[in-house]
């Protein structure tokens, strides 16, 4: 047991921090802020291509697939640093779907999609939820029906985030209506958003972030689009969600925000004299965030380490997701309190203050991952069953 980075891991972190500092020009930062921290703009794409060219996408993928072959923990350091830098990294594509495709994809996908993910040329959105299938995902109704050599896809998905600028949707479809259990009749497809049968309408959320409803109208694809085995999609979905869960709760941005607010509070003078940070209640709020973020960091590192060792426990993955998603909300509240009324002043206001305006927005977006990525109720069910061997009620 040695809970500290190796010199090599420290060197990687230092290298990445310098790299991203250079990458994040003021113009790119402004564009990312304008895009609500989800990317998709021209400078954002340019930067992604540069990262691909410099070999900084897929650092944890096997070398034979074009990656750097580093361990998940090094990959995690990469994501942490890039998120700290404020670049909305398309981790659903690169960290979550990408490795699944590299492992389970067919020859066409390995030749055509995987290299493009690594070069930053291909973006993939996730299509699971439907109007009638959320947490009970196995009830999904979108169908893929075989006609000759082709699959004909019809249906509607909800919350297809990023789809409006992605190239493909990683789409869960029903391929066997008569399977003995609903989840045994599901297959995964890569569906191009360029198909004329594909369309989307925006759904604007409390945080201002756009997500989408997406529609699939007689889209025809061949077997190249099928990922993994027919009717074995459920395992790919759960595997992807396990990977996604860790990316969702990366500690990098919170550490960065915390450090920024501390510096700001140290410099901020109170009209009655003294600095804001001298206030005991301010120190208390900051200490609570500091103690919490340390736990988040360790929970994340332990999982990255466990993935490296090949023994990631289901309960631990769920624990990280629940803890991180609920902790973020408390962070934004506690840091918002420190910055008082300024944490309600938006970045579009001339009076805006950098960190406070960020919290203004983050506080509005924070609930997404308590239910997104597998709702926390289900995660807690997994924890009590897989982590504590408690029996579960039948569903």
């Amino acid at each position: 047991m040695k809970v500290e980075f190796t010199p090599e891991q420290e060197a990687l972190r230092t290298e990445l921090r310098a790299y991203f500092k250079e990458l994040m020009t003021p113009e790119l930062t402004a564009e990312c802020n304008r895009d609500m921290g989800e990317g998709g703009g021209p400078l954002w794409r340019e930067a992604l291509l540069k990262m691909g060219k410099d070999g900084w996408i897929g650092v944890g993928w096997p070398k034979e697939l074009g990656g750097k072959g580093l361990s998940p923990i090094e990959q995690f350091i990469f994501v942490e640093e890039i998120m700290r830098a404020g670049y909305p990294f398309p981790f659903l594509t690169t960290e979550s779907v990408g490795p699944q495709l590299a492992e389970h994809g067919n020859a066409w996908q390995k030749a055509n999609i995987v290299p493009k993910i690594l070069s930053g040329e291909c973006l993939i959105a996730i299509g699971y939820s439907e109007p009638g299938a959320g947490t009970d995902l196995a009830r999904l109704k979108t169908t893929a029906v075989k006609e000759g050599d082709e699959w004909v896809i019809n249906g509607q998905k909800m919350w297809t985030s990023l789809a409006h600028f992605c190239d493909y949707v990683w789409l869960a479809c029903r391929t066997d209506q008569n399977a003995e259990k609903p989840h045994k009749g599901i297959s995964m497809f890569l569906v191009p958003t360029s198909d004329p049968g594909w369309s989307s309408t925006p759904v604007v959320t409390l945080g201002g972030v756009r997500t989408n409803a997406t529609y699939y109208d007689n889209i025809r694809v061949n077997d190249d689009a099928l990922v993994g085995e027919l009717n074995k999609g459920w395992k790919l979905i759960t595997g992807q969600l396990n990977r996604e869960r860790l990316s969702l709760v990366n500690c990098g941005p919170t550490q960065q925000l915390f450090n920024g607010v501390v510096k700001w509070a140290q410099e901020t003078e109170l009209p009655e004299g003294g600095k804001l940070i001298d206030q005991p209640w301010v120190q208390m709020n900051l200490a609570k965030v500091r103690a919490g973020v340390e736990a988040l960091k360790l929970v994340c590192y332990k999982q990255a380490w466990a993935m490296t060792e090949g023994n990631l426990e289901m309960a631990d993955a769920s624990a990280a997701k629940v803890y991180g998603s609920e902790f973020f909300i408390e962070v934004y509240r506690a840091l918002g309190e420190v910055m008082e009324q300024m944490s309600l002043v938006s970045e579009h206001s001339p009076q805006a203050q950098e960190h406070a305006a960020r919290v203004e927005r983050l506080y509005r977006t924070a609930s997404i991952i308590t239910f997104g990525g597998g709702t926390n109720e289900i995660q807690r069910d997994i924890i009590s069953a897989a982590g504590l061997w408690m029996p579960r009620a039948a569903r």
Binding site: E4, M284, A291, L388, R392
Partner: protein, 378 residues
């Protein structure tokens, strides 16, 4: 970054777990409830000595196993898991480790082999009234005398002072803080029994012009505060490790109980409200465990660990409190029934929560360090 255990570490864990499983039982623990008997098991202590575990972190030249603080912390975790009546923290962490790290060769030769063999006990007097910072004694003072010191003052909650060959006592002098090895049987020392929530033997130690010879000075005024800070951080990390064991066991006891206990014809564990409260405990214990391991690992590596120890102790306090009440609640009446084993765990969760600073106190201390620019996220 490595969260796994080495082969040696697993051996220490397994050996300790085996001994505590064999020799600690609710029936035996019952013997010291309400101070009916002394909360110390001679046979168990002998077995730990025989297995080499009392010397796990002592060098081989002092009859130890030659491992480090990490291995000792893993032993402490097992003490917590079984709430064994064995004063491993006061004796091995607060007592023997500082002697090994800062003592003279003569002190080490005189005291450490006896500790490893289980024949000699050490402890440390860490608390004063309204002062829980051992590195900054306020109510204990010393003046130079015959090459040593004369020390006066009162310490509180000193564990196992009645059995100790020496107890580490910090005192204020005109030149700074010193650390002494005081003989509890020396002239001028009075031990007054205290009754505390865990039924651990603890004493109010009154010192009146107690002479401490030069050979029993652990650290002079140039180094005393540093020694006591080192001792405090190691003891705090050990309390956190104990808390990991206690909370983990209480949580698992609760999970098992709810899986067996039936109401409305089904195990109560199948109710989501029950499962989710247990899941919260699981998350809590994991956060405590990882922060504790980080603090222990940094201390073992000789790195600065002030922030990490404070953060681990904040978690130890919060998690102890929350797991204690969740466990009691989910057990229904059984959790507080003294014929069922949970309640003793609750007293130890409280002990670990409060000793050497509660969550509130550590949050305040961490807040000060943040304000001073000493606790940024790296």
């Amino acid at each position: 970054m490595n969260f796994g255990f080495s082969e040696e570490q697993r051996e220490v864990q397994n050996l300790a777990r085996q001994i505590f499983t064999d020799l600690v039982s609710p029936e035996k623990l019952k013997a010291s409830d309400d101070y009916a008997g002394e909360r110390f098991d001679e046979a168990l202590w002998g077995k730990l000595a025989e297995a080499g575990l009392l010397g796990v972190a002592l060098e081989e030249q002092y009859a130890g196993m030659g491992f480090g603080f990490t291995e000792l912390a893993l032993l402490v975790e097992e003490v917590g898991r079984s709430i064994a009546p064995a004063p491993v923290i006061p004796n091995l962490v607060s007592g023997a480790l500082p002697v090994q790290r800062f003592g003279t060769d003569e002190q080490k030769q005189r005291l450490l082999p006896g500790v490893a063999e289980g024949k000699l006990m050490l402890t440390a007097a860490l608390m004063e009234k309204h002062n829980e910072n051992p590195a900054s004694p306020r109510l204990t003072t010393a003046v130079a005398k015959d090459g040593g010191y004369s020390v006066s003052g009162t310490k509180l909650c000193v564990p196992f002072a009645h059995r100790a060959e020496r107890m580490i006592v910090s005192a204020k002098t005109d030149n700074g803080v010193i650390a002494l090895l005081v003989d509890p049987k020396a002239d001028g020392v009075t031990l007054n029994e205290m009754k505390v929530t865990t039924y651990e033997p603890q004493y109010e130690v009154a010192l009146k012009d107690v002479s401490v010879a030069a050979e029993d000075v652990l650290a002079g005024a140039d180094k005393g505060a540093e020694v006591m800070q080192w001792l405090t951080e190691h003891t705090t990390a050990a309390l956190c490790a104990h808390q990991v064991g206690v909370t983990d066991c209480a949580m698992r006891m609760t999970a098992s109980y709810t899986a067996e206990r039936k109401q409305f014809g089904v195990p109560v564990a199948t109710f989501q409200a029950v499962g989710h409260r247990a899941a919260n405990c699981f998350i809590d214990v994991e956060c405590l465990r990882l922060n504790t391991y980080q603090a222990v690992s940094r201390l073992a590596g000789g790195h600065n660990a002030t922030n990490e120890v404070q953060i681990a102790k904040i978690w130890a306090g919060d998690v102890g409190h929350r797991v204690s009440y969740a466990s009691q609640h989910l057990h229904g009446g059984m959790g507080i029934d003294r014929d069922y084993p949970l309640w003793r765990y609750c007293t130890w969760m409280r002990h670990n929560e409060m000793m050497l600073g509660s969550s509130a106190k550590n949050l305040a201390a961490l807040g000060k360090r943040i304000a001073a620019g000493e606790a940024y996220c790296q």
